[in-house]
């Protein structure tokens, strides 16, 4: 299951407890001088859905972007702390961020299919851009599109541009594009915030289905969505983790008064 993150030296290794796919430890992140995360420690359980909720600007997106080393892509961004993937620090020395991102896929807030590619090429983009020539690209594209619950809608228009689809379809195309790479973890950064309720329902259903085989971390500012799709929920506020618990417990008897205030709508 575990694929290498680096060639040669592998950095500090720690035995992960069973069921723990990822673990952020003392994670701090900056944009220039402003500190977006102030020491967050959060486990991510294998083949479960973990939701991250919190008001705008609390560091939710930064947190998931740190998990696959996408935070450092932004100029001036900096990270401290550790993020373990199967017991291996993805910020360790000699770890290639490119290899981390192949194992930890990401779906963005705004659907971002490649406009110059057809629907089929968009699905295969992850492989092709990495120089892999799949033996049976048609079958692979179909499989990924089926898993993303998009196949029936696009099977006759695979040569059309990815940009010709509706917003909800584009987002599922982006999910298919991730799934084609067989990631172990899928990070979803507010995947439904640009979608209408029907498209949102489809994506949520999809999360249920693929969540049985895949570890998912979903950022959402919609508490109902977190309650519907996730097994565990983390509440983030002002760059700090306020509470992490099983979703049922967090929403029915929150352990922290600030969590209670937030989920009952008293602020945020």
């Amino acid at each position: 299951m575990s694929r290498p993150l680096a060639t040669g030296h592998q950095g500090p290794y720690r035995d992960a407890p069973p069921g723990e796919k990822m673990l952020a430890e003392g994670l701090r992140a900056w944009f220039g001088r402003s500190e977006a995360l102030k020491g967050v420690t959060l486990p991510v359980t294998e083949r479960r859905v973990t939701a991250i909720i919190g008001p705008s600007g609390c560091g939710k997106s930064t947190l998931v972007r740190c998990l696959n080393r996408m935070h450092e892509v932004v100029p001036g961004a900096r990270v401290e702390g550790r993020v373990m993937l199967d017991g291996l620090d993805v910020y360790g020395r000699d770890v290639d961020p490119v290899l981390v991102r192949r194992r930890v896929g990401m779906v963005f807030q705004k659907p971002n299919p490649f406009p110059t590619m057809s629907i089929r090429d968009n699905v295969l983009a992850g492989l092709r851009l990495n120089g892999v020539r799949p033996p049976d690209p048609e079958a692979l594209a179909e499989q990924a599109l089926r898993r993303a619950a998009l196949w029936d809608e696009v099977k006759d228009v695979l040569d059309r541009s990815g940009a010709s689809l509706s917003g909800g379809q584009q987002q599922r195309l982006c999910i298919a594009r991730c799934l084609a790479l067989e990631p172990e973890v899928l990070l979803m950064d507010e995947p439904c915030s640009a979608l209408d309720p029907i498209a949102t329902a489809k994506v949520e259903e999809l999360i249920h289905e693929i969540g049985e085989r895949l570890t998912i971390v979903i950022v959402t500012h919609n508490m109902q969505q977190a309650a519907r799709v996730s097994h565990y929920t983390a509440f983030l506020y002002m760059g700090e983790l306020v509470e992490y618990a099983a979703t049922d417990a967090l929403f029915t008897k929150p352990g922290n008064p600030r969590t209670e205030d937030y989920i009952t709508g008293r602020f945020g």
């Binding site: 996408m70 490119v98 991102r101 971002n112 490649f114 110059t116 992850g126 940009a163 010709s164 790479l181």
Partner: protein, 298 residues
């Protein structure tokens, strides 16, 4: 939320839409629009008249012999400018080989990697280079290439034109890559694609039609350059495609013929001018078709 409008708003509504203020706005709008249209027409007059004169005066001498024959000796009628046409095509090709790879790569550096003082310096230099008179570039290449080779050459001409292309190509590539949304770069990076592949296969491809337009603008600009060729490629009245020998070109030939005292040379200069315009047009259309064929429309 929808409460009754404030009394002043209600009064304004009651007064109707055709108030004096509104009529004045409409008048100003019409005036400004008229001004814009007039200015546009004025700007089109030189373009239209240049094209008209070149076409009407040049068409007379257009024929196969223009492209197949060498210039006739003084006093003899007929002949063509075949060697100058071939020379111009070769010089444009050489200029492209020098200017396009350097310019596009410099543009990629500026847009994707360039930060800090060095990038600002490069950007500033490109802007300055764009404003340098072309004859200065000619002198520069003369000292650098012609003097060291001890002869005028097609190579020197190509290098001079290539340097003239550089700033346009660099800055258009830079500007157009900046227009590609970061979301696409992030999409590629998040798929575990190395940065260089994300740039070549996603970012550059998305910006390709615009970059091609910029490159063609640069080609169009240098295709008609005369000054830098006078003492680099020099000119040649005979067939030559040898890179280290002087070579003929349409602009230089036009210049020589236009200032000559012979009536039929003037006619051939007009024809050469028309051919030069058509050559740039064909290159432009060709580049657009090439790029459009590779990037599917939405």
């Amino acid at each position: 939320m929808a409460s009754a409008p404030a009394p002043s708003v209600a009064r304004a509504r009651a007064a109707g839409l055709a108030t004096a203020v509104y009529r004045r706005r409409k008048a100003v709008d019409a005036l400004m629009r008229g001004g814009c249209v007039a200015a546009t027409l004025l700007a089109l007059v030189p373009l239209g008249s240049v094209l008209y004169w070149v076409a009407s005066r040049g068409a007379a001498g257009l024929g196969v012999s223009f492209f197949t024959e060498l210039p006739a000796p003084v006093g003899e009628l007929g002949g063509g400018m075949g060697q100058a046409f071939a020379g111009t095509v070769l010089l444009i090709g050489l200029a492209g080989l020098v200017g396009i790879p350097c310019g596009v790569l410099a543009g990629v550096y500026l847009a994707e990697f360039g930060e800090g003082r060095f990038a600002r310096l490069v950007r500033f230099s490109a802007d300055v280079l764009a404003g340098v008179p072309s004859i200065t570039v000619g002198v520069f290449v003369y000292t650098l290439v012609v003097l060291s080779m001890r002869r005028f050459s097609a190579l020197a001409g190509g290098i001079a034109l290539g340097i003239l292309m550089l700033p346009t190509v660099t800055r258009t590539t830079d500007e157009l890559l900046r227009l590609v949304p970061d979301a696409l770069r992030e999409a590629a990076l998040a798929l575990g694609v190395p940065k260089w592949r994300a740039i070549t296969r996603v970012v550059l491809r998305t910006a390709a039609p615009g970059i091609a337009t910029g490159v063609m603008l640069a080609v169009a600009r240098v295709a008609g350059e005369t000054a830098p060729l006078l003492f680099t490629a020099f000119g040649n009245r005979f067939w030559s495609v040898t890179l280290d020998r002087p070579i003929g070109s349409l602009p230089v030939q036009i210049y020589t013929y236009a200032v000559s005292p012979y009536e039929d040379w003037h006619q051939q200069a007009w024809t050469a001018a028309l051919v030069l315009v058509l050559l740039v047009l064909v290159l432009n259309v060709g580049a657009r078709l090439l790029v459009r064929g590779r990037v599917p429309a939405r």
